[in-house]
């Protein structure tokens, strides 16, 4: 990415990004723009450079902010009517870290409301179009972030990933997306979806940019007790990974997976061999339960995390409400999208007395088995390879009537989320129709940079 310096003005970088955003307005990447303040900030940086003062590592770099990150600039909506008039007094830690390095937010990127979805069709403000084919979805939930990067509006965007929300739209739009190890980046100031798998990460056009942005937003935050000490060390991991052993997850190379996707994964495996990696297939039968586990644990946490949106203190309150019960029921009915409500209902069901043991507790036990299976695999392999999603981007409306079909989108992306593992989505090919197809590299906890370096060395061979 281009950083502002004596020869490159931040104002020009930001203006170019704003112009492109306007040019591609019909893709609906953004919910709101931050034009005036972005330009002000760019001017400040240019003045600093002119005075010879130190500027940050991302000086003048424009970026798109997924609209579930809190920041006092404008309104944080989470793409939900519930928050369509919520000016946040808080700045998310990741945003504060980027701003401290001189990055400039030009607009708030579209998403599925509360990050619930795989297509951005659940946004209260309407869907985002795929950067490569306007009749296709951008994926989700970080669809706006992915399309904005793919269209070249911004060099990077922040996203959040609970079960694939960075990786799948990255794959659909042909860009890179990093879902880091759970706890790498602070969740403070990001509208929570499912707390035990929510991670903050980024989307960008190449491996180096992903690495740079992640190295800035990673690190321990006293405001998020689940954050890890910063393990991102750009110098240390720069060395090329040699002779690593990679396992291709065989269970995701069969039924239900588009042949073009399978071919892309196999081709990628061949490139890996050429790059000097040892590659073999590995069976991980428990993977097929990943989705079932996820769609119990995640809605439970979603239902819990959405309890605070009650129309009492902030957010949408129904004009028709007459008493306490109707404030709750009508405000929530009007403020949430159908998919939000579906997850609240599933979540409350699996947590309710009499069903807790059969669903939630059982899912958590299965989750432990899933984690064990990964641990076992990582005794033999340095990383695992599979596709990000079973097929390239689908058409608008194709899956909206069938939630289960929509959930199937997440079948390959949720298992690493349930285990808290890092997973990197990298562009790997294109379908006959010209739609991007991405692969996914999964590694042990804190192996994030190794995954980036593996993908980089494969790219160099190709």
């Amino acid at each position: 990415m281009i950083i502002a310096d004596k020869n490159t003005k931040a104002v020009d970088l930001v203006r170019a990004a704003l112009d492109k955003a306007k040019e591609f307005e019909d893709y609906h990447c953004f919910i709101s723009m931050n034009e005036a303040r972005a330009l002000d900030k760019a001017r400040e940086i240019d003045e600093k450079i002119a005075r010879g003062e130190k500027v940050g590592r991302l000086a003048g770099v424009p970026y798109a902010l997924k609209d579930n990150y809190l920041s006092p600039e404008g309104v944080t909506t989470a793409a939900a009517r519930m928050l369509d008039n919520f000016p946040s007094p808080i700045t998310a830690t990741a945003v504060a870290k980027l701003e401290a390095e001189g990055a400039i937010m030009i607009g708030r990127a579209n998403l599925d409301a509360y990050a619930h979805g795989s297509s951005t069709e659940n946004s209260y403000f309407g869907p985002t179009l795929n950067a490569h084919n306007k009749s296709r979805v951008a994926g989700g939930s970080s669809g706006g972030s992915a399309a904005a990067v793919a269209l070249g509006i911004v060099p990077f965007a922040l996203g959040s990933d609970t079960g694939g929300s960075i990786r799948q739209p990255a794959s659909y739009n042909g860009v890179w997306g990093m879902k880091p190890t759970y706890g790498t980046v602070s969740r403070y100031g990001v509208v929570a979806m499912a707390s035990s798998t929510d991670v903050m990460g980024c989307l960008a056009n190449n491996a180096d940019d992903v690495d740079l942005v992640m190295s800035i937003i990673a690190g321990k935050d006293p405001k998020d007790s689940t954050t890890l000490d910063n393990f991102w060390n750009r110098e240390l991991e720069d060395a090329k990974p040699k002779k690593k052993k990679i396992g291709i997850i065989k269970d995701f190379l069969g039924d239900g997976v588009n042949p073009e996707v399978i071919k892309t994964v196999r081709d990628y495996a061949e490139k890996m061999k050429k790059a000097g990696f040892e590659v073999e297939e590995v069976e991980m039968p428990i993977m097929k339960y990943g989705l079932a586990i996820y769609y119990i644990v995640q809605p439970a946490e979603v239902a819990s995390n959405l309890s605070r949106y009650d129309g009492i203190r902030y957010g949408h309150r129904s004009n028709e409400a007459k008493d306490l019960d109707s404030i709750y029921s009508m405000s929530r009915d009007e403020g949430f999208m159908p998919e939000n409500k579906r997850r609240i209902m599933i979540g409350n069901f699996v947590l309710s007395s009499g069903f807790y043991d059969a669903y939630y507790l059982k899912a958590q036990k299965a989750r432990t088995l899933l984690i064990n299976a990964y641990n076992e695999a990582f005794e033999k392999y340095d990383a695992l390879l599979c596709a990000v999603a079973p097929a390239p981007a689908f058409k608008f409306g194709e899956k909206t009537d069938d939630p289960l079909q929509m959930y199937m989108e997440d079948v390959m992306s949720v298992p690493p989320s349930m285990a808290g593992l890092p997973a990197l989505a990298a562009p790997a090919g294109t379908s006959k129709e010209g739609l991007p197809i991405g692969i996914q590299l999964i590694g042990p906890r804190k192996s994030d940079q190794m995954l980036i370096n593996i993908a980089k060395s494969v790219e160099e061979v190709a």
Partner: protein
């Protein structure tokens, strides 16, 4: 059939507000007394989107202290869970509590009457806010939302209203001694939920729960009332319904609020935002080594003072007084300490003195004062007057002796000085008859003469010395 045929069984849940500087999961002021509504509220307590709880380590330490005070096992690993329900006083829509793995395990409490009540467990949780209802609207104050609580759950080991009260009182003392709460019941620092059942057999009857009692008296009265109510029902052949009942202090009655069927499903779930609390045994040992003396230790030590139970327990209600008395006992022994104990119970604990700062008089000063009485330097009446002055802030720099002198209360023991006054009295015409009576062996009359001397000396004469001197002079 009557009440005496039934056995009453009571178990009590007690919520204790911890007196930490900041709240359980946010770094704002935890002391909301006399503060503007909603002035002690952080974005975390307000439950803005994206806010995450950060556990207050001081609250964990207080919980450990509370557990040790109740002779409970402290669990090295405990976890938080979410308890869900909707109410405007609960901003997140769930309360962070410890459902499955509480920090405090089982233990037992020894009551002053010699009985024991076992503690099932105690867990940490956050308090909710407060609603004030008006005719067509309600106001929410979140100052209390997020205040750290421990909920202490007893076993059903209590079998009378008096014992229920004694248990609550002892719990209150233990929490005060452990310095984990301000213990102000009026401010809701400790609140009691009481489960009551009756049965003629060893099998427990159906229980009713009376919630939110905030005084020892209301605990006792509510248990008494429930005992009557339930026995009456059972005697009529009716059933006790498992339900939550409210207590009306004015009518002295409990009324049905919510039956078991209407009970909420709290949809408990592990709290993913707060990592498990993992304690080292050495951390607990260190806290234990620094725990102050507990009421039971004072009770056994105060045995030598021969106080009656009510006097002793009244003093024990104030850790500062128990501590002072203990120091006086150490300094002045069983000779000087009982007098101080009586001063405490009869003077300081009188209604009009309860607002005094009991920490003002030191143990050395109290010992000195008692010693002055012991040595006849001060009358017991004079000592009480000096004592009152010792609890006035302006006198903290003065010794009891200085105070007594300033107040002109030091007793005259000097025989020459006293002799002159006595001579004056004995020669006074109005005393002639009494003096004659004494000379004739009618010793009853000496009281009048002593009284006259006391009057003339303005109370400073030591009456015992005067008595001896008059006898000598008239013999």
């Amino acid at each position: 059939m009557s009440k005496s045929d039934y056995k009453i069984t009571v178990g009590i849940e007690c919520h204790v507000q911890l007196n930490t500087k900041t709240k359980l999961f946010s770094a704002v002021d935890n002391d909301a007394v006399d503060k503007e509504p909603n002035s002690c509220v952080s974005p975390i307590d307000y439950a803005l989107p994206g806010m995450l709880p950060v556990l207050n380590k001081a609250a964990v330490e207080k919980a450990v202290r509370a557990g040790l005070a109740m002779n409970c096992k402290i669990n090295l690993v405990s976890r938080f869970d979410r308890k869900h329900y909707y109410y405007p006083d609960l901003p997140k829509g769930y309360q962070i509590s410890q459902m499955y793995q509480p920090i405090i395990g089982s233990g037992e409490i020894h009551l002053p009457d010699g009985s024991y009540v076992k503690i099932e467990h105690a867990h940490m949780e956050e308090d909710a806010g407060k609603l004030t209802h008006f005719s067509n609207y309600s106001l929410v104050d979140l100052n209390r939302a997020g205040t750290p609580l421990i909920e202490i759950v007893s076993m059903p080991d209590i079998h009378s209203a008096a014992q229920a009260r004694a248990y609550c009182e002892e719990l209150h003392r233990l929490m005060l001694y452990a310095e984990v709460t301000n213990g102000d019941l009026y401010q809701g620092n400790m609140r009691f939920d009481v489960n009551i059942s009756c049965s003629k057999t060893d099998k427990l009857g159906t229980r009713a729960e009376v919630k939110n009692l905030n005084s020892f008296r209301s605990v006792e009265r509510a248990v008494e009332y429930e005992f009557d109510r339930q026995v009456k029902l059972l005697e009529k052949g009716e059933k006790v319904i498992q339900e939550t009942r409210g207590w009306n202090d004015a009518t002295g009655k409990t009324t049905a609020q919510r039956s078991k069927e209407e009970a909420q499903d709290y949809r408990y779930m592990p709290e993913p935002d707060v990592p498990p609390v993992v304690l080292e045994q050495s951390y607990i040992d260190k806290i234990e080594a620094n725990m102050p003396m507990m009421p039971d230790e004072y009770r056994s030590k105060f045995g030598v003072l021969n106080l009656d139970n009510s006097e002793r327990e009244a003093i024990l209600n104030y850790p500062i007084l128990a501590g002072r008395l203990n120091e006086v006992l150490d300094k002045g022994g069983a000779q000087l300490a009982p007098r101080v104990a009586h001063w405490f119970s009869s003077i300081l604990l009188a209604e009009e003195n309860l607002d005094k700062d009991f920490s003002l008089a030191t143990a050395s000063e109290l010992t000195e004062l008692s010693e002055m009485v012991e040595k006849n330097e001060l009358s017991s009446t004079g000592a009480k007057a000096v004592l009152a002055e010792m609890y006035d802030k302006k006198n903290t720099q003065k010794t009891p002796h200085q105070l007594a002198k300033e107040m002109n209360l030091l007793q005259e023991n000097d025989e020459d000085a006293l002799g002159a006054i006595i001579d004056e009295v004995l020669t006074a015409p109005e005393c002639a008859k009494a003096a004659d009576d004494v000379r004739n062996g009618e010793m009853k009359a000496i009281g009048f003469l002593v009284g006259q001397v006391m009057k003339k000396s303005k109370g400073k004469a030591n009456p015992a010395t005067v008595n001896e001197l008059i006898k000598k002079k008239l013999s």
